[in-house]
């Protein structure tokens, strides 16, 4: 069963109490909150819209969008290609979003039936942790994969 936005909000409030809903329009919500994997606190934003039943979206199109605006300058580094991000098109000025799961994996790693509080948030913590390591080693130690060009979502 697909949890509605109220249930997502309630789960977020329960598990991540420092996070706040900053916008709420219908079945769409945006949260902002702090995450501190070690000693640096990041302001993270998550946008999510519950897809309509008639939409035939994929997890790639429906997944929550996670951005960490303060990190955007790092993403422009030539060596940032290894980071697990979704890059907008060149003409799109929006920041890259974190890519937290493999949308092509079997079994499915994330679906609209999942609570963000139990998936997106801990995965974001983990992403930030490995990002901090990457800043030093320039090597992503968190695993994962990058798509082959033909499968680039």
């Amino acid at each position: 069963m697909i949890p509605d936005i109220e249930r997502q909000i309630a789960a977020m409030r329960r598990d991540w109490p420092a996070w706040e809903v900053v916008t709420r329009v219908g079945e769409c919500a945006t949260w902002r909150g702090p995450l501190c994997p070690t000693t640096i606190t990041y302001e993270v934003e998550i946008r999510y819209r519950i897809p309509l039943a008639i939409e035939n979206g994929t997890v790639y199109t429906t997944q929550p969008r996670v951005t960490v605006e303060a990190l955007a300058p790092h993403f422009l580094s030539p060596v940032a290609i290894e980071l697990h991000l979704y890059w907008p098109a060149r003409e799109d000025s929006s920041p890259p979003t974190l890519c937290l799961f493999d949308p092509h994996a079997h079994p499915v790693q994330w679906s609209v039936e999942d609570l963000l509080a139990e998936t997106t948030l801990p995965w974001t913590c983990e992403w930030l942790l490995y990002f901090e390591g990457w800043l030093v080693t320039r090597s992503w130690e968190g695993g994962g994969r990058h798509p082959t060009p033909s499968r680039a979502a």
Partner: protein, 440 residues
Amino acid sequence: MNAAVRPPPLSPTELALEAAFLAVSLRLQLTPTQHRLCEERYHSLAAYVEREGSPLANRVLEVYPSGSFAILAVILGSVLRESHDFDVVLEIDIGTNADPASVIDALYQAIRGERGSRYYDMTRRNSRCVTVTYHDGVTLDLMPVARNHDSPPRAAVLFHHRPAEPGRGEERYRKPVNPWGFATFFNDQVPTDLAFAARVRRLREALSTRPPPSGLPSTDKAETQPVPPAVPLEEKPPRVMALQLMKRYRDKRHRRDDHRGMRKPPSVVLASLALDVGGPGRTLDEELLLLTRHLLRKLRTAIGAGRLHEVRNPSHPPDVFTDRWPASDGAQRLWLQDLLHMEARLVELRRELPFPMRLQAIFAELFGESVASIAVKGQMLEHRRARASGESGFEASGRVAAVTVGTAAGATVSRATAAPPSRTVDSVRAHDFYGNVRTW
């Protein structure tokens, strides 16, 4: 009835910090190739000293490794140049009352040989030994000794001779030693730790360090004792690995301008004191902290009593390890400051797992730039392992924490720490990071 109190399991952050220290420690070890090369050089030199026509032909009774090599605590002096030192003792068939200058000179001539011979341009005479420096920066120190048959097994006398120099008179004396006895005593005393060994093996495999050597072929002759085998890294006791890190720190500190020209605390002094540390520590960093504090205690005691720090060979007390260091109160106070610095950094690291860039900066300061980033890599690999095995999750702040499990009473306890957390921490669901490719 008193139940044995089992220490709580290590938390994910404790394991991650230890992994940083372990990664550095693994990087400081000799590779199997380096070990094999060292062994070949050792046997070649031992045979060369005794060659026909040598001043010491038929006068070498026994040759054996000593110093850090004998207690498995040798480290790469320079990670970038992959160089290290190797100490060898040559028992020579001479009386314990032989003239020190003659003994050192004879060994120097025996190794250096004639112009154009193998070691001619690689040999340097020192006050107690002769050093051969190879093209790759590795140095082999050969110390001639005379066996003292009235003392414990392999107790001997070393010879010290330094010619007069402007402003300094000649030094010429003999000193009782027993490097074999100390190495045997040390290796017998230092306990191994199976849980620690498992963590070393795990990280070594994750770091894809070359497999440890085992059963390296030995070419020892009748009078040349074999080089200690390069034991698998995971069989090294945590105390030895802590000692290696301390030596690395000492070497790094002595490259500073304010240490220039100062003699370093000898490795054998550190090794001897390491036997009395107590413990054992639960992690490598705790071992290092315990060692640091023990060294500090000993130094403070000496300074407080207004005397120089003295350490003797526990297997042969007439052998004073501190006969050349500290030469002055200033020298021991300098080392005290170094140890206080180490203690402060260890306490900082153990208080809170820092931002990796801070961790890198601390490791660079303590152990050198060349090994600092591998510390962060080790830390990250441990995070990944703990997450994949379901041991770690995240607190509401985003910090790594031990996964908690429910109890019958409804409370939660940590799977990896004794203290109950304020919020249930769940394991992280399996996932793979993904992403598209930037096309601009």
